[in-house]
Amino acid sequence: MLDLRGVVLRYPDFTLTADWHLPQGAEVAIIGPSGAGKSTLLAAIAGFEDLSAGAILWQGRDITRLRPGLRPMAMLFQDNNLFPHLTAFDNVALGLAPSGRLSAAGRAQVTAALAQVGLEGFATRRPAQLSGGQQGRVAIARVLVQQRPLILLDEPFAALGPALRREMLGLVRHIAQDIGATLLLVTHDATEARALPLTVLVSEGQAAAPMATDALFADPPPALRAWLGQ
């Protein structure tokens, strides 16, 4: 369970609060107007932003002071998800062994992960030799080998077209369900948000408690209505 207890992020130009928790295995979209703090919230959960007040707990354990790499999560960004000078195989391998040294079993695991995202035979390619969709798949294969119980996605695959993006999200969800991971997705695409069962609306300095997406969109509050342009 991910538990945000009285979380406050205070900046010169805005403040964001969040006070809610998520069950294990939940799939949550984080939406809201740009500049409201969606990415900041995700960065705080990942450990890239310090809290001004409050605490973040995972399975009852306080992880507020933990370094990002020691938190139980895997993260994907908008871009720059891969190291340009490493092959697809080596990029995925870093998810398994941060030192870069792999056992034979580890190598097999990386190969299997690449196969699972449909990239058999692409192991020796570098990012520049792959299409945008293939690069996304490599990043997802890395999330797969990381086997972390929390997967954070910050508008990933923003450079891809709608169909490819849907496909990538489907792939990530599939993997998340496989490992039983909780999924948090920051998005500015209403269709993408509606595909997930839960939604957190970030607006006016507050990240609201997660609500059932269908119910939220059936009767949108004013902030969501404005965001949707209704």
């Binding site: 990002p68 895997a74 960004f77 908008q78």
Partner: protein, 509 residues
């Protein structure tokens, strides 16, 4: 793109200017070749060549080794005074070399602060002369340059990549291999070859701190052949050696250094989640002391004597300011004109090469051979100084202006052409605002470099025609060290003011 915007950007002035540069370079060069004839370099000349290479290699290694931890510390730490320190890193580049050396002598010299401290605890004194003195001075002038280049490299690493490395919990070793290593591999060769080239043709440092059989560079040997032995033949041979050496290094530099060397941004600090705080603090403290102490020394020793400076110093200052304003204007006009023509003929950018390859002393020697004995060397002093400094600053100016110009034409050329803008509007309303900061910086660099130059003028000057740097050197030579420090302080103040004024006036609003 450039061709389509053609009617709006005149080409012929640039072609004429480039032809003038070519003439100004080839004529003295031909004179050098003719005079050197088949004369072979002697043992002393080969020794000078070896020493030039050796000190340049050592200086480069030293600068890189010290700059890497410093840039790394600056990239990851935020502390009070960080902006001031990054600003301080920009100073040595526009600091007159003679003033910097004088400051270093005040700190590391026989009667300097360090030796006073060593003597107090009964340790033997360190000498600031010879190879170690030259290396120390080159470190002082080049460490900031390399640090700024590396700092840009560190700041150009995408934030997501750092966060990803962090969220993958990469070990320090893997982090270096995948993030910092590739950046260093991309940036270090360029930085190394720039420092190497600068150290090959460093004259003032060798003139004051070097000398003798063990520490004579080619540039210094040319000066001595000319000034003490009056042996133009030998100067010509040495000049050709120097030209070959620096020309080769300059070509490599031009090829290796990325075109857009924007200014180091002061704003962004990489978020960092690791230890090593004590090490970073130590590095930053040592570097700040090393870089600021000579400046403070010039200020402390020079300030009391400024009011008592003899009129000759103020006359020299007036002459230097005039020269540097003329050089700055010429550099801007030439770089602007050549850059416009280079839109159509990209090859014109090689006009910058002579400035890199042809050191002022080599150029001066060639010019002298060209006019001697019809004209006296003294008559040549001022025109040759202007020419040498203009050629020397031209590569920097072109590198600053040309990329901005290309960008402006690529961004706005089509729209301007489709609107049918007149040439006047195109220049005044579109190009000038886009180029203004680059032009100001180019003018500032040219003015400051010319202000501090001690090359051609040392070769030709007579008793009553001296620039301010030469006057400082003469005061040092006659052991009037307080007056020398005061004159150096005036020199530093004028150089930095000229640079600051050019840069300030044209900065983006």
């Amino acid at each position: 793109m450039a061709r389509r915007a053609g009617p709006l950007t005149p080409v012929w002035p640039g072609l004429v200017l480039a032809a003038l540069v070519a003439l100004a370079v080839t004529a003295p060069l031909a004179a050098l070749l003719a005079r050197a004839g088949t004369a072979a370099p002697g043992p002393a000349d080969w020794a000078a060549l070896r020493f030039t290479l050796w000190q340049a290699v050592l200086s480069t290694l030293l600068s890189l080794i010290c700059a890497i931890p410093l840039a790394r510390a600056l990239a990851r730490r935020r502390f009070p005074g960080r902006d001031a320190l990054v600003l301080l890193l920009g100073v040595p580049f526009v600091l007159p070399v003679i003033a910097g050396v004088l400051g270093l002598l005040a700190v590391f010299g026989r009667n300097g602060w360090i030796n006073a401290g060593l003597a107090a605890v009964g340790l033997p004194a360190l000498s600031p002369y010879g190879l170690q003195g030259i290396l120390l001075a080159h470190l002082f002038f080049n460490l900031p340059l390399v640090t700024r280049m590396l700092l840009q490299g560190w700041q150009a690493i995408p934030a997501e990549r750092l966060r990803m490395a962090e969220s993958l919990a990469l070990t320090p070793r893997a982090r270096f291999a995948h993030i910092e290593g590739p950046m260093l591999r991309a940036v270090l060769p360029g930085a190394a070859v720039v420092v190497f080239t600068l150290c090959l043709s460093s004259f003032s440092v060798a003139l004051i701190l070097g000398g003798g059989p063990g520490a004579t560079t080619l540039e210094l040997a040319i000066y001595q052949a000319f000034r003490f032995d009056f042996a133009p033949d030998r100067a010509a041979v040495l000049g050709l050696l120097q030209l070959t050496l620096v020309g080769t290094a300059g070509l490599v530099a031009l090829w290796l250094v990325p075109a857009a060397q924007a200014e180091a941004s002061r704003g962004r600090v990489l978020r960092h989640w690791g230890g090593g705080r004590g090490f970073d603090a130590a590095i930053i403290t040592i570097a700040a002391l090393f870089l600021s102490a000579p400046l403070v020394a010039v200020l402390l020793r020079g300030a009391p004597g400024v009011v008592d400076l003899p009129p000759s110093v103020w006359r020299a200052a007036a002459l230097s300011v005039t020269l540097s304003v003329v050089v700055a204007a010429l550099v801007v006009i030439m770089a602007g004109g050549i850059a416009l023509a280079a839109l159509r003929f990209p090859l014109l950018e090689i006009t910058a090469l002579p400035g890199l390859a042809l050191s002022p002393l080599v150029l001066g020697t060639g010019l002298f051979l060209l006019v001697y004995p019809r004209l006296s060397p003294e008559a040549l002093a001022l025109p040759a100084t202007v020419l040498a400094n203009t050629l020397a600053a031209l590569p920097f100016a072109l590198r600053l202006i040309l990329p901005r110009l290309q960008q402006a034409v690529a961004d706005h050329g089509r729209l301007a052409a489709s609107l049918g803008l007149s040439r006047g509007i195109w220049f005044a309303r579109i190009l000038w605002p886009a180029l203004r900061p680059a032009i100001g910086l180019a003018a500032g660099v040219a003015a400051a470099l010319a202000m501090g130059d001690l090359g051609v003028i040392a070769l030709f000057a007579d008793a009553d025609r001296a620039t301010l740097p030469l006057q400082v050197m003469r005061l040092m030579g006659s052991y009037r060290s307080d007056a020398a420090a005061a004159a150096a302080l005036v020199l530093v103040a004028i150089s930095l003011t000229l640079f600051w004024a050019c840069e300030r006036v044209t900065r983006d609003a």
